[in-house]
């Protein structure tokens, strides 16, 4: 792999950039791999990358039914944070966030991690308590967050209306090293990193059947032929139930659409990422100048990535209420992403009823921020056959034991 650098760009500029090589090749599938990762989204590619980097397992294929990074990796609002309440969540999200800090250099691909600061607004007394509790938990978890008052919120976000008639801003949970990254670049950077280790990324390769005997998978049938494997990792957000059914088990997952939209680009308007959970809206401004806005989730099973309308209205209303100047901006584009919602809204990194199949799913609306940590923990699970400490609490067995990881706690219940 030829390294990227400013010198490489200068050299290529002299010959009209005709000398760049492929970021990842398009190989022909081998008959057999040590590990097949199904799903070349961020999580799948990161799983493969850390299998190679941390465990030296490089006879790996990442197979993808469409184009790599084309699922939720390429259609989210790119927020990165680790200010979670529960220990298992904050551990894996903070692992991810800390890996993001050095990811561009690690991958030699600028993923534009931008720790511009992330605010979660408290607009009810209940949220105040929930976020203060989170700050205290984060302190013990080794995560830097703090509670700030309304004036400091205003200093960070001058356009905010602190005194909305319904939901005044009472303060916020601030994570200064939270922020955003360029979502496509995360997938592309990992893909290039995997390819550099000799792994195969097989696009336009859909799994049509999973063949197993005696509780062990031996091969998968794909639209590009039958491929054998010693271990199979299923990392297909939005299609987890479909793939699990091919492997013969059901998941505590429902697939639903999450709505997002962007505005037309404008000059800098908001420097930090803001989440307003009481009114269900969050926004940040991309490096291109667009406001990137995330909204609600449908409450029903939906595999269509088409944008729905009522969530757009709800989200925009909520945001205008808190950020009045955005009223005269315009929506450029809206879309939906399919997210896997689990029974406790926390992810699954787990062994499965089939001995050598491992599954990573259920990230709900929060998958992008977890990619490096999820890949790291998943690689450990696949390589060792047992979860390491990051994945230990995210096993499927928790649903049987009643041992949930519930992050909605911070939002609480109104009294």
């Amino acid at each position: 792999m030829r390294r990227y650098s400013v010198f490489a760009i200068a050299r290529e500029a002299m010959r009209y950039h005709e000398g760049w090589e492929r970021a990842w090749p398009a190989p022909t599938p081998k008959p057999r791999y040590d590990v097949i990762v199904v799903g070349a989204g961020g999580h799948g590619l990161a799983t493969a990358y850390y299998l190679g980097k941390n465990f030296g397992i490089t006879n790996v294929a990442v197979i993808e039914k469409g184009w790599l990074g084309g699922g939720n990796t390429g259609r989210n609002t790119t927020i990165i944070r680790s200010n979670y309440l529960q220990d298992p969540s904050s551990a894996i999200y903070e692992k991810a966030r800390s890996l993001y800090e050095g990811l561009s250099r690690d991958l030699n691909y600028n993923v534009m991690f931008s720790p511009r600061g992330l605010l979660m607004l408290a607009q009810t007394e209940h949220e105040v308590r929930g976020y203060k509790r989170t700050v205290n938990a984060n302190d013990l978890q080794g995560i830097e967050t703090r509670w700030i008052g309304p004036q400091e919120v205003k200093d960070l976000v001058p356009m905010i209306n602190l005194h909305g008639p319904r939901y005044p801003v009472l303060g916020a949970l601030l994570q200064e090293r939270g922020g955003t990254a360029r979502h496509d670049a995360v997938a592309w950077g990992y893909a290039r990193g995997c390819a550099a280790m000799g792994m195969h990324i097989l696009q336009n390769c859909e799994v049509t059947a999973i063949r197993s005997e005696n509780g062990q998978v031996s091969e998968v049938e794909t639209t590009r032929g039958t491929i054998g494997c010693k271990k199979l990792a299923i990392v297909v957000a939005g299609h987890s139930s479909v793939m699990a059914e091919k492997a013969g088990f059901r998941l505590p997952v429902e697939s639903m659409a999450l709505q997002a939209l962007v505005s037309e680009p404008i000059k800098p308007m908001i420097d930090v990422v803001v989440m307003a959970n009481t009114v269900h809206g969050y926004l940040s401004q991309s490096d291109k100048g667009e406001l990137v806005i995330g909204g609600g989730t449908d409450g029903f099973v939906n595999y269509s990535q088409r944008g729905s309308w009522q969530h757009v209205e709800e989200t925009i209303r909520a945001l205008i209420e808190t950020f009045p100047p955005i009223s005269r901006l315009r929506m450029l584009r809206q879309w939906g992403g399919i997210v896997d919602m689990t029974g406790d809204r926390s992810p699954i990194l787990s062994k499965t009823p089939v001995g050598n199949i491992f599954i990573n799913c259920g990230w709900g609306t929060g998958g992008f921020k977890a990619i490096p940590g999820s890949g790291w923990a998943m690689a450990e699970l696949v390589a060792n056959g047992e979860p390491g400490p990051l994945a230990a609490d995210f096993g499927l067995e928790r649903f049987r034991e009643g041992r949930f990881i519930d992050e909605s706690v911070a939002a609480g219940v109104a009294h």
């Binding site: 037309e264 490096d287 100047p325």
Partner: protein, 993 residues
């Protein structure tokens, strides 16, 4: 730059030449006529330069005359009405409008950021992925620079003073597009009696046909299209079942034929007492897309220079607005349609020095007509370079089949009209899943009628007609829209020759000067770079280069870009496919999307019968669900803490009153009501005696505490269930869910009567005296013991009185019909004067209950807490075979003795432990996080005990009474002693008086 007045002496079918208006552009006064767009008026005043590109800040003029415009974007209006990124080509000029150019510094003519253009060799597609990685250089240095230079218009800083409204409409057929195809479809369906809406995004009917006929003399039923349109409109206007709307954009087609449309109401009259825009949510039996087609640019070196325009746009400016984009216009085309532009230009007295036709032997009737007028037609020729920078000054001629390095001639001109063919406007068709098919002969993607977007019934919910269906010629266009199509006379046309790059053999240097996405500065070379580097999926190429991601969303660039990608990958265009078409068709304002729901009416506000009184008393409000409740009643300059202390002490020492109307009240009635409540509550409700009250807990089927409240048995078959304020609707829905979907054969009825009753809690040692002062039903200790209720007259009110207490004091809750709530409140205040009665708010309520060790749903519970955690095992019936949550509690983690359990906590120094503090335990877990052993769930200053009190969940807490543990909060440590959670009156003597 010299300004040339280019308004033609006559013509201009859309402008009212008799009236003059003026607007400002960058401080200059621009003359215009009603009917002008900003673009037409600016061109008419000689201002071709109207914008700067996003990345390289190249000077740009309008390339189009409609919604597809990528270049000519301005900021309109000032201060609170400032709106960035508006296309001059679709913004109507109005008297006094203020427009400013954007994305330039210091000015449009001299933009210092155009330095980027000089550096463009170092800034190809995706260059930023390959550098800026050292240390924190990205976040500290490069990203801030990029952010400052990115973006287009300035960000608004003030609240929007305008209002917006929303409307619904239902139709059998909604027709999108008011050109001849749309009007023909409207006649077809309107005559048949269907409810029809016709939506036209511009202020004018007729679309392209009326302009094109100026060139080719086409007729419909022997009429000029303009006259046919007029007649069609007259007929449609007379039909009561047809609604015609101009200035109404069909923005998006969603599932189940849900069409979102935006109507401009008062955009040109800022400050008028009208909603500025109206957002329509429409449901259609069928949507007919008659949105026409978009002309494609050609990719040749320098095709982005101001003065290079689409041939159809040149025609539009001449015919519609009597504006000549140039005095000498060179035309570059690969099809016959561009010759129409030559014809209207010649008629307007504009010189056409040459027509460069990429085809070898163009010879159709339109070509012949132009040739007959003496115009030089150069088949197989192209443009090697566009001369001039801020305005076209000429072109360098070359052969199309060449590398473009041999200039045959320089042809002076001040505009170039280009036509690369047309693409049907398929956006709405595609928004909701309609598929496209590549038409090789016509060289465009057209809707595949066999794969339409499907409605709820599984049948097609949309249909394309006219040019949107690929029927570009007028005769085919009308035939596709109407079963009895009118007679059309229109000239024949020869086939287009698809050309995606010209000159055909251009080297990398020239390909880097061929723009595809004008706004985002994506060139042919960038797409080829993406293909070379493996970004070969159309979505990868788009995202890597930003092709089609500008504010025009690729209307001009997408087809050209994917054709070039296909060439680079050596695969047919259909194999490459298109990117996804997403709503909206053109951007729509957030203000209109939000509609009326802003400020005070952002969300419904629920108010109790006593709300006005609370307001009058200066209550500090707290939102609880959609209700608002008094948090406390501070006096003038009194801090909240003092008010709360005063309110608490009033209850402890004498008497206080609380507006408890928001508490949920659900009637459960019927022969099986007791059996039902035994399933819903964890404790036994069927055995409750009539006249008695019982505190009940509800768990979800997953075992977690959901809600609590006092249940009163009103009669043999009727119970009244109180819920938390926020829980009323959810709990009622929960009950209905189980009744309707699981136990639907049980005879039970429920009713949520929360709003039917006003309820006042009267609490304190003097509470009974206040009630007795009102007179009426016997509320003595004997007649109405704790946890019972009675009904009867009280001070003349028809009241139900519950003897219950959430404060630990003698307490009554009095319920009356809501209409009498305020009267009751006043009477209680009056009667309580003798005892110095005080209203208290939710915070005092919290303090009072915490002193007494009562749990609060949402404080002690958070969705992960089960009754056992709170020491509420007594409320879990052992006798019942089943209740919701029972099975869940048997699971290993819930039955574990290691769960954190409720205790009271006192700081050793008497201070208030910070709420939400967490108690660390020795050591760390496997993820290097500190272990924990408990957390604070409620913490208050107790005015009664004059010290801080708290409740919390602590590992093995109840077994560790008296032990000291350290809590961590806000970076500080507080040592607390584990005690009973009941701080006040542990024996309950105050209650039973």
């Amino acid at each position: 730059m010299t300004r040339r007045i280019t308004r033609l002496d006559r013509g201009g079918r859309l402008i009212d030449r008799a009236r003059d208006i003026t607007f400002c552009f960058d401080g200059r006064r621009i003359p215009a006529h009603p009917g002008d767009t900003l673009a037409s008026a600016l061109l008419g005043a000689g201002h071709v330069l109207q914008g700067r590109s996003f990345k390289y800040h190249r000077p740009r003029g309008p390339v189009a005359a409609g919604a597809e415009e990528p270049n000519a974007l301005v900021t309109l209006g000032g201060r609170a009405r400032m709106e960035p990124d508006l296309r001059t080509t679709t913004t109507e000029a109005f008297d006094g409008a203020e427009a400013r150019s954007q994305n330039r510094w210091p000015g449009l003519g001299l933009d210092l950021l155009a330095i980027n253009d000089r550096l463009s060799a170092f800034m190809p597609a995706g260059f930023y992925y390959k550098t800026f990685m050292a240390g924190r250089s990205w976040e500290k240095l490069f990203e801030p620079i990029i952010r400052r230079s990115a973006g287009l218009g300035p960000a608004p800083t003030e609240a929007d003073p305008d209002s917006y409204e929303q409307a619904y409409a239902f139709a059998d057929v909604i027709i999108v597009g008011g050109g001849v195809a749309g009007l023909a479809a409207a006649l077809e369906h309107g005559r048949a009696g269907a409810r029809v809406w016709v939506l036209e995004q511009t202020p004018h009917w007729g679309g392209r046909a009326v302009v094109d006929a100026e060139a080719d003399g086409a007729t419909i039923d022997g009429l000029a299209p303009e006259a046919w349109v007029k007649a069609a409109l007259a007929e449609l206007e007379a039909l009561p079942n047809v609604t015609l709307r101009t200035r109404m954009l069909a923005a998006g087609l969603h599932d189940h034929a849900h069409l979102i449309a935006l109507e401009s109401v008062a955009d040109t009259t800022p400050g008028a007492d009208l909603p500025r825009q109206r957002l329509w949510r429409m449901r259609a039996g069928k949507v007919i897309v008659a949105a026409g087609a978009l002309e494609r640019p050609l990719s040749f070196p320098g095709n982005d220079r101001p003065g290079v325009m689409l041939a159809s746009a040149v025609r539009d400016y001449i015919v519609n607005w009597a504006v000549s984009p140039g005095k000498r216009i060179v035309i570059l085309t690969n099809n016959d349609d561009a010759y129409r532009t030559a014809l209207v230009a010649l008629d307007a007295g504009i010189a056409i020095p040459a027509i460069l036709d990429l085809r070898k032997t163009p010879n159709g009737p339109l070509v012949q007509a132009v040739r007959d007028r003496g115009v030089r037609i150069l088949p197989g020729h192209s443009i090697a370079k566009v001369l001039g920078s801020k305005q076209v000054k000429g072109i360098a001629l070359c052969r199309h089949e060449s590398r473009g390095e041999a200039w045959l001639e320089r042809i002076p001109c001040d505009a170039v009209a280009m036509s690369g063919g047309w693409s049907p406007t398929v956006h709405l068709w595609s928004h909701c899943g309609g598929k496209l098919a590549w038409d090789t002969e016509a060289a465009f993607f057209a809707p595949d009628p066999d794969k339409p977007p499907l409605g709820a019934d599984g049948k097609a919910m949309a249909q394309c007609v006219g040019a949107a269906a690929g029927a570009l010629r007028l005769d085919a266009c009308l035939a596709s829209a109407m079963s009895a199509a009118p007679q059309v006379e229109t000239p024949a046309e020869e086939p287009i020759q698809p050309v995606w790059v010209t000159p055909a053999e251009a080297g990398p240097h020239l390909r880097a000067k061929m723009w595809l996405d004008f706004q985002n500065d994506v060139k042919v070379s960038d797409i080829q770079l993406a293909a070379r580097e493996g970004y070969q999926s159309v979505e990868h190429a788009k995202r890597y280069t930003t092709l089609g991601m500008a504010t025009d969303q690729g209307k001009l660039s997408n087809i050209n870009g994917l054709a070039i990608l296909s060439q680079a990958l050596d695969q047919p265009i259909p194999a490459t496919g298109t990117t996804t078409f997403r709503p909206p068709y053109t951007p729509i304002g957030f203000g209109a999307i939000a509609g009326e729901a802003r400020g005070e009416i952002f969300q419904p506000l629920r108010r109790t019968a006593m709300d006005a009184w609370h307001e009058d008393q200066g209550a500090h409000w707290e939102p609880v669900g959609q209700w608002r409740r008094p948090y406390c009643y501070p006096g003038k300059a009194e801090p909240h803490s003092a008010a709360i202390e005063r309110e608490v002490l009033a209850v402890r020492n004498s008497v206080g009153m609380l507006d408890a109307s928001t508490l949920g009240k659900i009637i459960v009635k019927g022969p099986d009501a007791g059996r039902f409540l035994d399933m819903i509550y964890t404790n036994m409700m069927s055995t409750l005696a009539v006249g008695k009250c019982r505190y009940g807990l509800m768990c979800s089927e997953n075992g977690f505490l959901m809600d609590d409240g006092v249940v009163a048995r009103l009669s043999e078959d009727t119970w009244l269930c109180h819920t938390t304020t926020g829980g009323a609707e959810a709990i009622h829905a929960h009950m209905e869910d189980w009744l309707q979907c699981e136990w639907w054969d049980w005879k039970v009825w429920t009713a949520n009567v929360t709003e039917a009753y006003a309820q006042v809690a009267v609490a304190g040692p003097n509470a009974r005296k206040v009630l007795e002062a009102l007179g009426g039903v016997d509320v003595s200790r004997e007649a109405l013991p704790h946890m019972s209720w009675t009904a009867g007259p009280l001070g003349g009110f028809d009241a139900r009185i519950y003897r219950i207490s959430f404060s630990g004091e003698l307490g009554f809750e009095i319920a009356v019909p809501t209409s009498q709530g305020m009267a009751l409140w006043s009477r209680l205040l009056e009667a309580g004067k003798a005892f110095d009665i005080r209203p208290y708010g939710t915070e005092a309520l919290h303090v009072l209950r915490a002193e007494k060790g009562f749990i609060m749903i949402g404080d002690e519970t958070d969705g992960t807490v089960i009754p056992q955690d709170l020491g509420l095992n007594w409320a879990l019936s052992k006798k019942k075979a089943d209740f919701l949550g029972k099975r869940a509690h048997q699971r290993s983690f819930m039955a574990s003795p290691d769960r954190w359990k409720l205790v009271g906590l006192e700081s050793l120094d008497g201070s208030v432990i910070p709420e939400c503090a967490i108690a660390p335990a020795p050591g760390e877990n496997a993820n290097r996080q500190r272990n924990t052993q408990g957390r604070i769930t409620s913490s208050y200053y107790s005015p009664t005990l004059k010290r801080g009190i708290a409740m919390g969940l602590v590992h093995n807490g109840p077994d560790r009474m008296g032990e000291e543990i350290i809590f961590n909060a806000d970076g500080k440590e507080v040592t607390a002693r584990i005690v009973s959670p009941v701080f006040y009156d542990p024996k309950g003597e105050k209650l039973d008086v």
